[in-house]
């Protein structure tokens, strides 16, 4: 069973924007698209660990601010000619609140 952690109200993340969450094992970036979907990825680009939470969000992708790698918010895969993948976590919105899956976050310990 999923165990969802309530993170914050949706409006605390701007549309087409992101915010960062601290965990004991590094940072997670939470993204909000133009259509109010939320996604969560490790906040480090597979290329040179750029902070994805600072990137430009477009469609269901984010562009890393350091070297313009485009990462899919859904799969964490680098798009186009680039290769690499960033870990993604289940995230959803319920009653205007952002929820993340505790089990997946905990799995970071093993990773």
């Amino acid at each position: 069973m999923s165990d969802w952690i309530d993170i914050a109200p949706l409006e605390n993340v701007p549309q087409r924007g992101a915010r960062m969450i601290k965990t004991a094992f590094g940072c997670v970036a939470v993204f909000r698209t133009a259509e109010d979907e939320v996604f969560a990825l490790d906040n480090a680009c597979p290329h040179k660990a750029g902070p994805l939470a600072e990137g430009i969000v477009h469609g269901k992708s984010v562009t890393c601010p350091l070297h313009n790698w485009v990462i899919s918010l859904e799969t964490g895969e680098a798009q186009g000619a680039d290769e690499g993948r960033v870990v993604s976590y289940p995230a959803r919105v319920e009653s205007g609140r952002i929820l993340l899956d505790r089990a997946f976050l905990k799995a970071r310990v093993a990773a």
Binding site: R16, T23, A24, V30, I56, E74
Partner: protein, 808 residues
């Protein structure tokens, strides 16, 4: 034995339920109680009544004859005071006590009134029933009305009144209209259609207070200080299920009255239907599910098996001339893809959201003829993989092969219009080609086709290709990005000629192929729009690179660097102390002097930014904009103050220039230099704009660079006074802002347009350019640090800290 049924509320749901019961000759004595002094009518047809397309009598669904025919006893204009569930009786406000075997709630919903100061003034109404509609109809031409709420209901109210000549303004808190059903692009088209009907639309508008005079509404005050005068104020911001009576009767109530799949409440003898119910967490405002509920409730009352199932819903707007459709959902969920189709000339927009080869949602504007077919695909979850390529064109194109665009152009008759701006037909272009025009430029020159707004350029090229065959190859122009085939220059031309003032407007009118752009085009469009429409356009931080969004330079490890402004390169011991203190306090690892004579604090943590800025602001320093595509620094030498060669006060001029130009956004970074003599200690001749002071005045030169390309500036003009030098520099900066491609430095732009063209424009249009520059500066010359410290400091901190949480 015949049972007694009491129905509370004569709305659309209970109306349908009663019909089902009487048609099946259900064995009930029925009593219908209604608060409004009338029976069932079709509430969703109030919009046509308001606009004058229908009369009230035409929307009555059940009249007195009907109730008489089916022996339904009615109590209209009557309220239920109390329900005794133990003894199964209902007490009305006239003191009548009625017994029931079964009771049905159809109490509907109440319009939600925002508790703004002044909401209880006379003339502030909701849009809910016939009385409200009558109030709006009675307003009369030339009167003013403000509608709060840009959703379905608010827009129908606005359009209805506008049709009767009322001066209507719609105030909407969100960024675009009907944001729950539409995406930005469709919202833009809808807004355009409403504006064409004479309705004023204000989005991102926060209502602050309703102002009155002698107890009657006078105006709506927005929190930006705008006052909208009105004789009537309609609040159409939403509805809430009317649950008070059910609550008092002790029924289970959440957002609405809880019902199961059979529409039975927590009391087996009590049912509920319509807007007052909550089923499986959902409440209902559209009519289709209400009718489904009505049927299920009737069947339950008759002891039949029936089950209410929530279905996909679609929305249409009942405003003449606004062809709009949305269905399914276009949010929530992973693995979704978009197919977008735009036809700027016809004002058509279609968007499908697809997941695993199934259509999940559809938004259409302008041409909704195929909406039922798309809705069917959503509802029936059909696999569309076979028709994916042609899906967006609708059912007519399914089963065939995709059309060759050239074949379509070849098939056009000679009198088919190609260029709408200049009224040029295909035949005229063919004639021009026959007369020797073999490329786009020649066709433009001889026919004017594609010479105005430029959207038909592709079409003209296709006519060339069809007519000339292999002799003509459609040129591959460098498009802005993958979202469009247009060049930067074409997009800029469109923004100006078509007065496009928002990003969705550009996406639609220039036929963007994605729903909302990408990291390449959005920063460029954001700049073009704010450069061309400083007053109207609202800057979009989410379309800016992180450096500009957070007003600091991102470094390789994700930390930031901060540069306080030192006007003209001059500083004081106090400022240096403040910088040193800030460096200590925030453990800044590196303090560096930049090439532009400023001090760079490198390695500041993102979350410390607002605090370090607050400290630097307190010491009198503002943002140095070292991160910006805008004015960065004016580098100076010491000039006449101390130098034995200096001819003019170069430091003073540098300070003046920096104070005039700071905060201005430009296509790329902009660096200036002022040297006091031709020895050029400020290296002014490798800056974007350089000034060399000489005995007789000031030489202004432009187009230098010391980056990937190294270039010397070229002399633009020599003037006699500081004032003239400043004017010329403002004029050339504005010309650059208005014309250059995003990310072109001045030297690249100059390479395209030529120095002579720049000289001529600055000479002939100088004062107008300066005026436009000043106008823009009146909005954008501000210190972003001070602003963000006050309003956005939270955004710099982590959204949450789960360090402890995850360690458990």
């Amino acid at each position: 034995m015949t049972q007694k049924l009491i129905v509370i509320g004569a709305g659309m749901a209970t109306g349908r339920m009663l019909e089902t019961l009487v048609e099946a000759e259900a064995d009930y004595y029925i009593t219908l109680i209604n608060g409004e002094a009338r029976g069932n009518y079709n509430r969703i047809m109030l919009s046509p009544v308001l606009s004058g397309d229908k009369t009230y009598n035409e929307i009555v669904t059940h009249d007195d004859e009907w109730y008489k025919l089916y022996k339904i006893k009615t109590r209209f204009g009557c309220f239920v005071q109390n329900i005794d569930r133990e003894n199964q009786t209902v007490t009305t406000d006239t003191g009548e006590v009625l017994a029931y075997d079964k009771l049905v709630f159809g109490t509907g919903s109440n319009p939600f009134m925002i508790p703004l100061p002044g909401h209880d003034l006379e003339g502030v109404i909701a849009y809910r029933d016939l009385e409200d509609t009558q109030r709006m109809m009675d307003l009369g031409p030339a009167h003013k009305c403000v509608v709060i709420g840009g959703g379905l209901l608010g827009l129908e109210a606005a359009a209805g009144m506008a049709a009767r000549g009322v001066d209507v303004t719609v105030v909407h808190i969100m960024g675009h209209l009907m944001e729950r059903q539409l995406d930005e692009a469709a919202g833009y088209l809808l807004r355009k259609a409403l504006v064409d009907k004479g309705i004023t639309v204000k989005c991102t508008a926060n209502s602050k207070e309703i102002l009155g005079k002698d107890g009657h509404v006078k105006a709506l005050l927005l929190d930006d200080g705008t006052e909208l005068a009105c004789d009537l104020l309609v609040m159409a911001v939403g509805i809430r299920p009317n649950v008070k009576l059910a609550q008092d009767a002790g029924l289970a109530v959440g957002k609405g009255i809880h019902v199961d799949d059979q529409m039975v409440t927590s009391d087996a003898n009590v049912l509920a239907v319509g807007e007052c119910v909550e089923h499986d967490g959902a409440i209902f405002g559209l009519v289709a599910p209400l009718y489904d509920q009505a049927k299920v409730a009737a069947q339950t009352l008759m002891g039949q098996q029936a089950q209410f199932v929530q279905k996909e819903l679609s929305t249409k707007l009942k405003v003449t001339g606004c062809d709009l459709f949305s269905a399914g959902d276009f949010a929530d969920g992973e693995g979704r893809e978009d197919i977008v189709f735009r036809d700027p000339a016809r004002g058509v927009y279609r968007r499908l959201v697809i997941e695993n080869n199934v259509v999940k949602g559809a938004v259409m504007y302008g041409d909704t003829a195929d909406s039922n077919w798309f809705f069917g695909l959503i509802r029936d979850k059909l696999d569309i993989s076979d028709m994916r390529d042609t899906l967006i064109f609708g059912p007519a194109y399914q089963g065939g092969t995709p059309l060759d665009p050239l074949a379509a152009v070849a098939a056009l008759p000679r009198d088919a219009e190609i260029c709408g701006c200049n009224g040029i037909c295909k035949g005229q272009i063919e004639d021009a080609i026959a007369a020797g025009a073999t490329d786009l430029g020649a066709v433009r020159l001889t026919t004017k086709a594609s010479g105005s707004c430029g959207t038909c350029t592709g079409l003209v090229e296709q006519v060339l290709a069809v007519t000339l065959g292999d002799e003509f190859v459609i040129p591959a122009v460098a498009a802005v990005c993958g979202c469009t085939a247009m060049t930067h220059e074409d997009v800029r031309r469109m923004i100006k000629s078509q007065r496009l003032i928002s990003m969705p407007a550009v996406w639609q009118e220039c036929g963007w192929k994605t729903s909302c752009g990408c990291h390449v085009c959005r920063p460029a469009l954001n700049f073009y729009l704010l450069a061309d429409w400083p007053l109207e356009y609202q800057d979009d931080p989410q379309s800016r690179f992180i450096n500009e969004r957070k007003h600091a330079n991102i470094q390789k490890d994700g930390t930031f660097s901060v540069v306080p402004r030192m006007w003209g390169g001059i500083t004081t011991p106090d400022e240096l102390r403040a910088i040193a203190d800030a460096a200590d306090k925030y453990a800044v690892p590196t303090v560096k002097v930049t090439g532009g004579q400023r001090i760079d604090l490198l390695g500041v943590k993102g979350e410390d930014l607002p605090d370090i800025w607050a400290d630097l602001n307190a010491a009198g320093m503002v943002s140095g904009h070292a991160y910006s595509k805008g004015l960065r620094t004016v580098k100076t030498c010491v000039g006449t103050d101390h130098c034995r060669f200096g001819t003019q006060d170069s430091t003073g001029l540098g300070i003046k220039l920096e104070k005039e130009l700071w905060g201005s956004w430009t296509p790329h970074k902009l660096k200036l230099g002022v040297s006091g003599c031709p020895r050029n200690c400020a290296e002014a001749t490798c800056k974007d704009i350089g000034v060399i002071c000489v005995d007789s005045g000031y030489q202004v030169s432009i187009g230098g660079a010391a980056g990937m390309d190294v270039r010397e500036t070229e002399l633009m003009v020599q003037v006699a006074t500081e004032e003239e030098a400043i004017e010329v520099i403002k004029a050339v900066t504005q010309l650059y802002r208005e014309n250059a491609k995003y990310l072109d430095r001045i030297y690249k732009w100059m390479g395209k347009v030529g120095l002579d063209w720049i000289k001529e424009r600055v000479e002939t249009e100088g004062p107008a350019l300066v005026e436009r520059f000043e106008l823009s500066q009146s909005i954008y010359r501000k210190d972003p640090w001070a602003d963000h410290v006050q309003t956005k400091a939270d955004r710099y901190r982590p959204l949450a800290n789960l360090s402890l949480e995850a360690a458990e």
